[in-house]
């Protein structure tokens, strides 16, 4: 069976580009705080969502709507409306993280398929079975804390599908369990759908290089001729003890394309690409590469090698937690 490619779309143009490039499935969100990529100028209005879904369906692709932030107390109606509107627009599933929202969707929209977002960080078979039994979740996006053998062990003990990230930005912390960003800036993935927001980034030219600060904290400083990666908090350079280093993670991004055969053997259903904030040409290129790779694996051919390295953030890729030594 061919692995399903689940591809990001931050705009209707990116959605169309991804469909044309061969994405089996697209995921996207509404243009508000209900989704975890709540960036200025991104995401879909209600009419755009319906049109995008119709475009995808006409070409045999599916569309998943991510409603994966944690609803704000006193404002849950915004998230409830997003679920209703996703169903009306014809979404193939919604991707949810919050328990209250899962319970709401199961009760009020029983016919709308539910996926568990990576933001719920369901990291073992007990909790996955619990979500399946309690909220009839059909697919779980696994957090980026698991090795490939652990993913295989989980799949052996559950009946629902699993989806794993294979390319793009890499959360170093368990997803949905991190408030580093709001500690420094007041805005977080869980509450606002943003991490290390650009509105709180300041660059300054200093004698020893270009400093990038987030909420006033220096995340890194680079020399004049060095590449300056975006100052994502957990990929900064800090001092701990007597060591100055990338304390949590290097400025790298996930590239697990070489692990596709192992992930297929581990029983994974779908491969997810991060990057709803990326351009449509990036999205199209990544989709084409991954589609070629999963088709090759399905037909027993060798993988096309190393095509995506230059698209990676900071020019370096990691396989992250999929290899146990990452820990």
């Amino acid at each position: 069976m061919t692995l399903e490619i689940v591809c990001p779309a931050g705009t209707p143009a990116a959605l169309r580009a991804a469909v044309k490039a061969g994405a089996h499935t697209i995921y996207c969100g509404f243009a508000d705080e209900t989704n975890a990529r709540n960036f200025p100028g991104l995401n879909f209005g209600r009419a755009e969502m319906a049109e995008g879904i119709a475009f995808a369906h006409a070409r045999g692709s599916k569309v998943l709507v991510a409603i994966n932030t944690y609803p704000r107390a006193g404002a849950e109606h915004l998230w409830h409306a997003a679920i209703a509107d996703a169903e009306t627009a014809g979404a193939d599933a919604v991707i949810l993280a919050d328990i209250g929202l899962l319970a709401f969707a199961a009760e009020h929209h029983p016919g709308l398929r539910r996926h568990l977002s990576v933001q719920a960080a369901a990291a073992n078979s007990d909790i996955i079975n619990f979500y399946a039994d309690t909220f009839d979740v059909k697919r779980v996006v696994l957090p980026r804390v698991l090795s490939v053998p652990e993913i295989a062990a989980i799949n052996a003990e559950i009946d629902v599908e699993t989806e794993v990230f294979v390319f793009g930005g890499l959360c170093v912390m368990a997803e949905g369990r991190c408030s580093l960003s709001s500690y420094a800036t007041g805005e977080s993935p869980n509450m606002n759908g943003v991490c290390s927001p650009a509105s709180h980034v300041k660059y300054s030219e200093e004698p020893d290089g270009l400093a990038a600060r987030l909420g006033g904290y220096t995340i890194h400083k680079v020399g004049r001729d060095e590449p300056a990666p975006y100052p994502t908090l957990c990929k900064g350079c800090f001092t701990a003890g007597d060591k100055t280093s990338h304390t949590f993670e290097d400025p790298t991004s996930l590239n697990a394309e070489q692990l596709i055969p192992q992930l297929a053997k581990a029983g994974v259903t779908a491969l997810k690409i991060e990057g709803r904030q990326r351009s449509r040409s990036y999205v199209a290129q990544v989709v084409r590469n991954f589609r070629a790779a999963v088709d090759a694996v399905a037909e027993g051919r060798p993988l096309p090698a190393g095509m995506l390295a230059r698209l990676s953030e900071g020019q370096s890729g990691t396989t992250g937690a999929y290899k146990k030594t990452w820990r």
């Binding site: 107390a73 209250g100 170093v172 580093l180 001092t239 146990k324 990452w326 820990r327």
Partner: protein, 299 residues
């Protein structure tokens, strides 16, 4: 309003660990949550001391609960989580995995590492048997007000993070091990050298975070000592104090003094800043522009 001692986040040797709970038995806190929250590899070093500590605390009239791990991935961690109920005290779930093992209708508590951001989740947990919920430290006062009011309506006690370095993130990766060029499986317990966490400072020398094995904490010690009035008005019933080394009895006493009105919040803040690792306090998640902010005078 009263006081809860949260589970120790750090790796302490067994004697220090047991000594701490002996001291807490004589403290002004009404309840204590203990057990391993952060890393299952630490547990064997003090696991056999837990029953005696529970007994000491119960004998002293405290209410006691046992915490789950914050992140459950390994087989032995799943077994550990499934067995938590055997101790005969309520389980505080800090990962929903623990909830999957709570028998239907049995009482449980919810810790600050479970994402309770809104009424829907709060109601759902209450319907499953939650009797006490400590809200995530990230929540602003406006959310705390809504949820504490709901707690009053449903008969669920609502707590907030009152004191301690903030648990900002949990990871599959051990940062103490990484710092020493090791992996988590071969960590050699590097975190033991930092019983309040290891400071993470920016390259400009600004204190920022603290590492604690797989956990990342704030550098500042959160303290809601200056927010007691707002929290009481909202209907919050307890402040959670997170253990650290040093004179923790004095921390508990400072909070009890503020709750009783015998110590002013600013006087208590001075005492707490002197006891906090690094001496910096914050209360910005509740009322500030960002978590690291402090509403009082700089100390």
């Amino acid at each position: 309003m009263d006081l809860t001692i949260g589970p120790n986040q750090f790796f302490w040797d067994a004697d220090t660990w047991a000594g701490f709970y002996g001291e807490m038995a004589d403290s002004a806190a009404l309840r204590v949550v203990l057990g391993e929250l952060v890393c299952s590899k630490r547990l064997p070093f003090y696991q056999d001391r837990i029953p005696a500590a529970v007994e000491t605390l119960l004998d002293a009239g405290k209410t006691v609960a046992l915490t789950s791990l914050a992140l459950v991935t390994l087989k032995r961690e799943r077994k550990l989580t499934a067995d938590l109920g055997a101790m005969g005290v309520p389980v505080e779930i800090n990962d929903l995995t623990a909830l999957s093992h709570v028998p239907d209708g049995a009482e449980f508590w919810v810790g600050p590492l479970v994402n309770v951001y809104n009424e829907g989740t709060f109601r759902w947990l209450a319907s499953r048997g939650a009797t006490r919920i400590c809200l995530p430290p990230e929540l602003p006062l406006s959310s705390v007000q809504v949820l504490a009011a709901l707690g009053a309506e449903l008969g669920v006690a609502v707590e907030v993070w009152g004191f301690g370095r903030l648990p900002l993130a949990i990871s599959g990766r051990c940062y103490h091990a990484r710092l020493h060029g090791r992996t988590k499986d071969n960590c050699q317990f590097a975190c033991e050298d930092d019983p309040d966490g290891l400071s993470v400072v920016t390259t400009d020398g600004q204190p920022f975070l603290a590492m604690n094995g797989v956990q990342t904490l704030s550098d500042s010690t959160a303290s809601l000592v200056r927010k007691v009035e707002e929290l009481r008005d909202a209907g919050v019933s307890a402040l959670r104090l997170s253990p650290q080394t040093g004179a923790f009895g004095s921390v508990v006493a400072a909070y009890r003094g503020v709750l009783d009105g015998s110590v002013s919040p600013d006087d208590a803040a001075r005492v707490l800043a002197a006891l906090a690792p690094g001496g910096r306090l914050s209360d910005g998640f509740l009322t500030g522009a960002r978590g690291a902010d402090w509403s009082g005078v700089a100390v």
